[in-house]
Amino acid sequence: MIETSRSGREGLLIVPLGDCALLVRFGDSLEDGANRAAQALAAALDADPIAGVVEVVPSLVSVLLRYDPAATEPFRLAGEIALRLSRPAEKPAGSHRIGVRFDGPDLAEVAAALGLTIADFIARHCAAPLRVLATGFAPGFVYCGFHGADLTLPRRQQVRPLVSAGSVLFAAGQTAIAASDIPTGWHVIGQTDFRNFDAARLPPTRLQAGDLVSFEALA
């Protein structure tokens, strides 16, 4: 009764999410391969859409396909998904430069916990572009990664009830940018004027999963 199928790829799971969607999951933990596989499937679905699929949502290690149950059903969809898994598409990645004022309330603590001076932390943080791992947690929110092991810290013990839009967040080997006011348990390391959400534009966001982001320290 559970329409779950496992194919050759280790950890791959296609599972219904209710009666109007399937979730294709590439792993149980956040790692680079599963994240890239999810982005490749989303690109393949973009390049070669499946009839009856009304929305494709790439996430950290999965892709959600919302479908019209009057137009298709999970068994047929699973076949169409398998076809696209066998010939993944590469989408040309956009690239973005984002200026950050590294003045967040957790900056000093983060640098100290990593055994770095603040200047060294900022230099290492901005040394190489990061990839947008996923969008969608909140309006315009992006996760970017991955930093090396030398820049990996767990989240804070305490959740801040609200940080403002433009907060640059750091945890779990990633840097994230909030485009709206949100609660977060991540370290706040800085602020940006860049806003990845504009309700007057369609689509409302500029950064897409797979894009490259270069962070630049502003004086």
């Binding site: 009764m1 559970i2 329409e3 599972v15 219904p16 999410l17 209710g18 009666d19 109007c20 969607a21 979730l23 999951r25 792993g27 149980d28 933990s29 956040l30 009304v54 929305e55 494709v56 949502v57 790439p58 996430s59 950290l60 290690v61 999965s62 959600l64 919302r66 149950p69 009057a70 059903e73 999970p74 996923a134 969008t135 969608g136 947690f137 909140a138 309006p139 315009g140 929110f141 485009a179 709206s180 959400f197 309700a199 369609l202 689509p203 409302p204 966001t205 999963a209």
Partner: protein, 300 residues
């Protein structure tokens, strides 16, 4: 027909809704839309709705007055009391109202959400393809907020014809769900207890989610690791770290990292949304195939 309508009294969290802002989950926006989609369509058919938008009321109801013009209004959803200039009418129903008429909707015997639809087009700016209010993201409707006394809504031409209303038989069994995403992460004992156990709708409920009281202690003591986030859809039943089940509703968080034991089927989500705090329910698993047959037989 055109009309200017003033809200005289708004119960808490009355909002403008249309069919929803679909297709923006990747941008971090859930679709919103009516909590009881069937009732929303029914009110629209009664009104001869000229556009997809109407008012969703919560249990306290709402009063409005027609300031100028005239408009046909249809109402449905749950069981509320409705009066025009003090004279009681039937629920669901419809009437043509003219300048000076006062429509008053007050609490009734059943349901959490009632709908007012209008036989003319609601003149509000389209935000990302929809008029629906998303209070989480502060988008749509009137500045992304709930309606308040004194708000004015303008309706312009664009009436449709009142149509027949589908009266689906009221279901009264368990709430049916599809096992999915994290079903297999729960122990066999929890899986078997979840089906048929008693859950009670708690007062902690809104357009984002409905918290359930786990009366039989199905999830008590179950410690579950937090997971990598995946996209969320309305009807997902997520289990918090302390064992509290929450059913995510139309203004749900776009992604979630708590385990989800299943998802309520489309054919039962309206009925679930109308269950008042204190109501007792049980869950019953069905196949996707079965859920699709129910969708085909039940909806227009």
């Amino acid at each position: 027909m055109s009309a200017l309508v003033r809200i005289v009294r708004a119960g808490p969290l009355a909002t403008i809704q249309d069919a929803g802002r679909h297709g923006l989950l990747a941008h971090g926006i859930s679709a919103s839309g009516p909590m009881d989609q069937g009732a929303f369509r029914q009110a629209g058919a009664l009104a001869g709705a000229g556009s997809g938008a109407g008012i969703e009321m919560t249990r306290a109801g709402l009063d409005l007055v027609i300031e100028t013009g005239a408009v046909r209004i249809g109402w449905a959803g749950g069981a509320f009391a409705v009066r025009i200039n003090g004279a009681a009418l039937g629920w669901p129903g419809a009437a043509r109202l003219s300048a000076g008429d006062l429509l008053s909707v007050t609490p009734g015997s059943a349901g959490n959400y009632g709908y007012l639809r209008f036989g003319a087009r609601l003149d509000l700016p389209d935000v990302l393809g929809s008029l629906s209010t998303n209070m989480r993201a502060r988008l749509g409707g009137l500045e992304g907020r709930a309606l308040a006394a004194g708000d004015r809504l303008r309706f312009e031409d664009g009436a449709g014809e009142p149509g027949p209303i589908a009266t689906a038989p009221v279901e009264d069994g368990p709430i049916r769900f599809i096992r999915g995403l994290h079903w297999e992460r729960f122990s066999v004992q929890v899986q078997s207890q979840f089906v048929g156990a008693r859950f009670r709708i708690s007062p902690a409920m809104d357009r984002m989610g409905v918290r359930l009281a786990d009366e039989d202690g199905v999830f008590g003591g179950q410690s579950i690791l937090s997971l990598v986030s995946d996209p969320v859809l309305p009807g997902d039943i997520q289990i918090l770290g302390d064992g509290t089940p929450i059913v995510l509703m139309r203004d749900h968080q776009p992604t979630g990292g708590y385990p989800r034991i299943g998802t309520i089927i489309g054919a039962d989500l309206d009925r679930f949304a109308q269950m008042r705090p204190g109501s007792v329910l049980a869950f019953e698993p069905v196949s996707v195939d079965h859920a699709h047959r129910l969708l085909r037989s039940g909806q227009t």
